[in-house]
Symmetry: D2
Subunit: 348 residues, 4 copies
């Protein structure tokens, strides 16, 4: 009953097998390993983007920050939702790598609306040299509230960005969960909708620690490489990143894992909907739920061993009727039993 | 016959076993995993430093840059040898993380001398607010030329640094190779000799990609944590870093691997000393050799499959008698046979 | 009839006289000129702060950015109102100097409320190493909307900041206009109310280009000096900054000029209040007015030579009845005649 | 007898007159003042560069750092002489603005030689993504040792830079002293010899504090403007910078002042050459002399009121025969009498 995060579960056994298989003999370092050649081809295939530059980093914060820095000038402002990971959870990494600032665009269901984005972008360039300049737009998919932008929503945001002369970054830490939820292609969710660069997440979906950075315009590639190295994110023994990503791409392992995570979440959501005191704050579309439950329910769940975060109060102390919000995240390894056990305790 | 780098060989099988063993169930992320508790204790034991703060990063560049940034102010200059990795091979990462600059101190056998260091440090603070201020001193152990500072040499440099009010960083990408070469304790080579923070390398010595950052003054720990996170170097699935480092520390695996690498290097050096046209540029003390050989020798070796770098000319084209310098590095997995085969081809 | 900005008018003749007087013989540079000794004493007197460190910069952006960088760590966030000059009009200079980010605190009458500040500060430290850390609070006095914080309001904000372990910066580009409006002492408006560092503006109040940076805790002084130099803001021929500030302090010239500017503004406000179609958006308390007037009024005024900015539409083109907002700023040199002429044209 | 620096003397009276003349009525700020239009035309005329972008800053450090940042990427290294002002006397400002690092090129007579520059530039790009990339070359003219690059020397350095794909910055803090010494045109000393951007100094040559930044390729102009603003170096009351520079350009005031400074220096050098114990370390070509004199001579001169710096020892204490090096700088206001009095005391 571990719902604290999708980065707390194990990696898929196939990932470990791939590491073991890669661990023989000598291999060129720094991305020149032959497995990376395979990975590059596989990621290009997935995205239907034969010219795309493809790089690996070991953390999502690195992927986001280096990609944004490649798109932004130091005097720019980057547009994102107020609850974006790059705003809330990266300890200023995007600002550190880019020297730019962030402009928070009002969001509905954790998604910027095209109108709000346009208003923010127009407001940001009325002061000439005095104000920050318009930089890239960053879209989080799946959002930090568990909602998923439709392809049309991404396209609408990208159109506003491009009208304003800006490029579009997709923070896809949960890219595969979104892709499975939408049932569309990776190309449709990205470059066909106007996305310029993607953080294609693996860590939250069953890898040990690898994200692919996909850059559709190869002219940006060399700058990315320099920024990655300068940030200390170029791995000497790169084959161990490559091997993970190859396992991810092989036989669509990413798809199986995201499907399992999303299904567990839907099962959980269905169960919660049938429980009187539960209030779902957002419509769960991928693998993350925000639910309000009375403190007494949290106490019962936690006493039984359920693990998850609440933000708006101490579940241990206070009025038993007071509702507190839990974030429940499911990963690829969450079992039907784990979900059912959670629901059963809740209902008991 | 792969002598290009000690980051090109495989990880030790025990490291992979440790990863597989760690890959069960849920674990807290971001360094709060229980394996990290063991690692912390083991590293403190090794260094005989019960109060030290211990952190992991996945690359040596990250370890160096974040540690130096924790010691240096943006208006400082960091003192190092001209061939230091932080100067030559990190694409400005130390400057990026610290905003400080580097002052190159003349070196003998790739080691700064105390006199040269003192002269550089004195020169650096004669201009008040106009010049950069004195920042930390960074010592590379093993040096980039394969030489090893004695404990007395480290102590002498650290004394100059401390006299000048500066702290001391040890870039120990090949820490264990040096320790084995010197036969001293980790404490003697570091804090007992005046070193304040250490990049304790694992990647070049048989891990997949982990370095420990050891900070003897725990008051610096929180700043390090923030800088690591802000640089995108805090791993969510941290247990996979911890597991590698635990394997490294268990039964002194680090010692076995460094001993094997150094022994292969000595065998290689002994063979080269007996070969007429070979000129060793530095006394090989750990696992790295610089040797000048006529181009014809390089051609014969490379044709037979030997892999290594030369810097001062194209081995394929030119006067067959012209001497070119090779760097030969041995890692833990280098066999006696590999070395002997190399020497045999040279002599043939 | 020039109301575009208080940085568009001339310097006071006494400032030029002071420059001419200072322009004889040799003088030590970089702040070691004897006039600066006098300035330091005079500013300390004004603030009743005998230990304060006092420095000069030539622009307000430099004063703000360097002071904030002296208070903030790179992983911090600085709290300010959404319309603060540091957010809107400095092209990321505070972020450039500090590497920190800004958190925009909702404001009423362009003033953060203590409750909103507390909520923002509490929200900003719930994520440990993942989120930015709490940095300084920056208060703009006079605000960018022409309102003035009372001493009690400053104290209330500073108390919240200090409770949260943060320091307080006062952006006093129009410090003297506020001081005259409140009729309090400089000490009451600053350190007695919990302010830690002050940008004490001169440029907008009759100098050519000088701001004093007042730092009540002298332990921060050396860092400020290094940051000023590193930013290229330490003047070699410093006496020409000192001379301006000395003229400003002599016989309270600052007071006379701010009084004149505020009086012109009140005369203008009184006139506008008596004009039917004028709507004052904020209560003018110092030397700046925001007033909504129908486009036809703007056209008549501008045709007659009045100069000022409107933001929410083109005064030249559109429905003559549509109201547009003008910002009207008065400086020390604005005459009664200038104001009266403006009002007369409006009423004509 | 003040020879400590050319930034310690007064500004020319015509500069003050120009300020007084500019101090009437309202003027647009931030460089949109009409005097700046005149300045732009005059500087373009002087440089015979009708398309050049021309901007003003108030300090030379700002001019250098912002221009270099406009030419350099954060992962670059900037090539300069070891004694360059940007290396020694700007407290990391170039690194702060550009995030790049500096590579020190061995110099003869304080001038990089083309061979040394070529060697440094070739060495700097053998490590691909691992090492810093080649950034701009910065030439100091007059050098920090008082020598002057001939036009041919500048051209030869610029050719190396351009061969390597790099741009050329001229730090012309003493530009006019060099121009007078060489008797060539500003165009010959800059763009006709391959210089891309110039810090055209005024402060050390009789202004209060203004440098022009001349950018021959106007495509770089907007980036420069943003960097200047972001650094806090865009003046609101810009007319007071413009007025100084206009006075400088009017009737070639710059030429008269540089001629006077150089002549005083030559008179001083001639006198020193006739004095037995004096050893000139560099051939004085502009307005700066380095001379070794026995301590007893320094003591006599200083006792008589001469003011200047020595670096290699305390003039007050020690062996009276020990030679110490003095730096003697003359500015436009140095009189024949001042020089003669100095020489007379020396000889007495």
């Amino acid at each position: 009953m571990y719902f604290a995060s999708d980065n707390a579960g194990p990696a898929h056994p196939k990932v470990l097998e791939a590491l073991v298989a890669a661990n023989t003999g000598y291999a060129m370092g720094y991305g020149a390993d032959p497995i990376m050649d395979e990975v590059r081809a596989m990621v290009r295939d997935l995205f239907d983007a034969p010219q795309a530059a493809v790089y690996l980093t070991a953390t999502g914060t690195a992927a986001n920050a280096i990609l944004l820095a490649t798109l932004a000038n130091p005097w720019d402002t980057i547009f994102c939702a107020p609850m974006a990971h790059i705003q809330e959870d990266e300890c200023n990494a995007p600002e550190f790598y880019s020297n730019a600032k962030l402009t928070l665009v009002p969001a509905t269901n954790a998604k910027m609306t095209p109108d709000a984005l346009r208003a923010a972008m127009l407001a940001e360039q009325t002061r000439g040299v005095h104000g920050p300049q318009r930089g890239p737009v960053s879209i989080t998919q799946v959002t930090e509230k568990g909602t998923v932008h439709t392809v049309a929503e991404i396209r609408a945001l990208a159109e506003v960005a491009h009208e304003c002369g800006s490029k579009v970054h997709l923070d896809g830490a949960r890219f595969c969960n979104a892709l499975v939820a939408l049932g569309c292609s990776a190309a449709e969710m990205t470059w066909k909708s106007g996305v310029d660069v993607v953080s294609f997440g693996g860590t939250k979906n069953g890898l040990m620690g690898v994200e692919a950075c996909v850059i559709f315009d190869p002219k940006l590639a060399w700058e990315f490489e320099l920024r990655r190295k300068r940030g200390g994110h170029l791995f000497s023994k790169h084959r161990y990143l490559s091997a993970q990503m190859k396992a991810y791409m092989t036989d669509d392992l990413w798809h199986d894992m995201a499907t399992a995570a999303n299904a567990a979440c839907q099962r959980l959501a269905d169960g919660l909907r049938g429980y009187n005191s539960a209030e779902l704050l957002f419509e769960p579309e991928a693998n993350m739920i925000f639910v309000r439950l009375p403190r007494r329910d949290h106490q019962r769940l936690m006493a039984a061993g359920a693990v998850y975060y609440t933000w708006d109060g101490d579940p241990a102390v206070g009025d038993p009727d007071e509702p507190l919000t839990a974030r429940l995240v499911t990963d690829w390894s969450m079992t039907q039993d784990g979900v059912d056990q959670f629901l059963q305790i809740l209902r008991s």
